[in-house]
Symmetry: C2
DNA sequence: AGGCGCTTGTGAACGAACGCACAAAGTGAG
DNA sequence: CTCACTTTGTGCGTTCGTTCACAAGCGCCT
């Protein structure tokens, strides 16, 4: 389930506050979900709660971490160390959540050889060697969009089977490779869509009209 | 619909390649979705296709842009100009997709006053004034997690009604405010989950066991 | 020891979204 | 003009996920 990481974050926050026990209701509101949904999600991992009491925070942290495969550290390579790649490489939040950035790769001669967050940037030529050397299964693509697909293919060929893509393109990969994309422009556009709708439906698209009609129908 | 921005991107790419007409099948595969789903999505905006031919690319770009509210530029404020805030402020992909970054705000004395991407960073004190001055409806939070909720409340109080949050916290907002979050750690954790499953179910969590049993049941 | 109150785990109903498959509609060739 | 071909728009069955609601289980208080 894609919600486990959210629960895990809420749980670790609680653990830091020295909370030992939490009810599904509390945890659900901290994670921003329905409590029945949370209980059902957790029940897929097994019965780790105590009726009448709730869940033991530390124990649940462990179980969820195990389920997510975070009891070990995953080595990661970042390809493309422009603005975004720099930010990612310097971000401490990955290391503390089960990931270890092990290799940085870029094509730009000016960037290659520089040190970022204690790691030396290697030239693109060494991509495959870095992946093999560190046994890297997870690759991050932070290159310009036009080269993302090519980088993706090289990562896959080298043995990477999970990719986090920041470039605004749809990557084509074999079935066994998992891709997730983070696209900030799309997020903003979705916000703009809702924002526009708030301004009043009359001056806008047909989708809004349809929604307005629906609202009318409901209110009568 | 949350898929419209993806279609829009595929369409603009096609437009740049001087493609004038596209079938639902082609556009769907470029966007990575089922063609029936794409046609149904587009039909919500109206009937802009021609049977036997397909969709006119330029016309569809315009219709989708209008639906998303991208015929105008949306002013945006970024709060927190650390690594990530810098990357965002310098990113050209926003301006070309209907957004104009109009204000940068940070609490750090060393950052305030510096110029990033042609814009001067203003102190947090001026947040409300900047929002009002530019009529900003969309705010981006790139501050450390502990202050994100507080910043969020100030943005909302100042009149911002859509927020893009990069801090790893669940923001609490009034119903009429739209929040979207981008959480890179969560994306990585989801990848780790799938990665772990590939390694073989025997040494892992109960969720995997359940899936394995299911697979057994199906194959017999 | 027994009962009371609280919280979990889940069966079942509901609803939304997906995708198949086809009729309707347009194009172009003969 | 007609026919064969292409592609849209959509009705409908199906699947997936969410939520309600409640029985089962646990701890605590008496
Ligand atoms: N910066 C942001 O805030 C932001 C936001 C959304 C999306 N993105 C996307 O993320 C990607 C990176 O953005 P950025 O702002 O860091 O861009 P950037 O131009 O600052 O950095 C790109 C980096 O990739 C390197 N590169 C180019 N070709 C390469 C190749 N073939 N192999 C390896 N490295 C190569 C460049 O040398 C450069 O260091 C882009 O696709 C962009 O669209 C960025
Ligand atoms: N850098 C990444 O790649 C990355 C990845 C995932 C998530 N994030 C999240 O994004 C956020 C920012 O990350 P970062 O790497 O840029 O951190 P950072 O520490 O580099 O930058 C944080 C910035 O926020 C400013 N700030 C602090 N308190 C403030 C306040 N009250 N008001 C306004 N500004 C304030 C600081 O002065 C600093 O400039 C964090 O919440 C982080 O968890 C970052």
């Amino acid at each position: 389930m894609a919600r486990l990481p959210i629960y895990l974050r809420a749980l670790t926050t609680l653990a830091e506050e020295a909370v030992t026990t939490v009810s599904s209701e509390e945890l659900a509101s901290a994670a921003g979900v329905n409590s029945a949904k949370l209980r059902k999600d957790l029940s897929y991992l097994g019965s780790y709660g105590t009726r009448g009491v709730g869940y033991d925070v530390d124990y649940l942290v462990y179980q969820v971490s195990r389920e997510l495969g975070l009891t070990q550290d995953w080595p990661v390579v970042i390809v493309g160390l422009g603005h975004l790649g720099h930010a990612l490489a310097n971000y401490g939040g990955f290391a503390s959540r089960g990931f270890a950035i092990r290799a940085l790769v870029d094509a730009d001669a000016a960037t290659v050889g520089t040190e970022i967050a204690g790691l030396r940037v290697r030239h693109l030529d060494g991509l495959e060697e870095e992946v093999r050397k560190h046994g890297i299964a997870i690759g991050v693509i932070a290159t310009p969009a036009p080269v993302a697909q090519e980088i993706c293919e090289r990562l896959v060929a080298a043995g990477v089977s999970s990719i986090l893509n920041f470039a605004p393109v749809v990557l084509v990969v074999p079935d066994e490779v998992e891709v997730r994309k983070v696209d900030m422009s799309i997020e903003l556009q979705i916000l703009a869509f809702h924002e526009q709708r708030k301004l009043g439906p009359e001056r806008h698209g047909r989708l809004n009209d349809a929604v307005a009609e629906l609202a009318d129908a409901v209110s009568t």
